[in-house]
Amino acid sequence: MSSHTGERKGSHYTLEWLYVAAVIALLGWASVDAWIVEKNIDEIPESAITIKVVAQQWFWTFEHPDGKKEVGELHLKVGQAYRFEITSKDVIHSFNVPFYLSLMDAVPGRINKTWFVADAPGEFLIQCREYCGLLHYQMRATLYVEA
């Protein structure tokens, strides 16, 4: 049952150490890179306007600071930073704007925050990214970014 070997010393082990060092170096680089990017996108700027996002089975409701509510669509202004306070009324959903890479879970009993700058005008998809039941696949809304 000998998968046991005569252990070779010296140069062959050094190659393994070099290899592991290279792997750790690559991972270290990836971690630092990720940390830097995350740090940059984490802090929500002062100038961001707050939009309340409420998810429920199976549609999205948005509320602007002036109290105006929108269901199934969201109108934002180009070049403006927006902060989203996201929650849910029933099960866990996930607020996702794929174009802007915005993703944050909508958890009942909790308010999660995320933000992005709506820098490109156009019509964009909003979708749910956490399985929430029968019509999860259809739980979409439209984002309109206007000048």
């Binding site: 140069s11 740090k39 700027p45 802007y100 933000w115």
Partner: protein, 107 residues
Amino acid sequence: MIVINLSRIFKYCIKSPKSRSRLSFSIKLLSLVLGPLFIGSLIPILDSAFAQGAEDLVNRRIEIWDEFYRLMTVAMVVGVLVQGFIIYIVFKFREKTVKQKEVPSQQ
């Protein structure tokens, strides 16, 4: 000084010239690819020095996709090296090419 010692370590570690040249090729390739990527990853630090100011807001999707492309480039290069090496080994050391030794016991 550092360079001399590094090359000494290199020579000590890797006895066969073939593996030596192979590893040296890999190291050159990796540093050629990693160098610019490393510098590229530092750009967000420069960004953050100016970001959150009046005009310059961090563009989330550009930052994230940039990082994705950097990581994917490295992953692809390493992947080609590793997978290529596996295929190379399996091809080179397959049964047919190595001569049959007549003495059955080998150590």
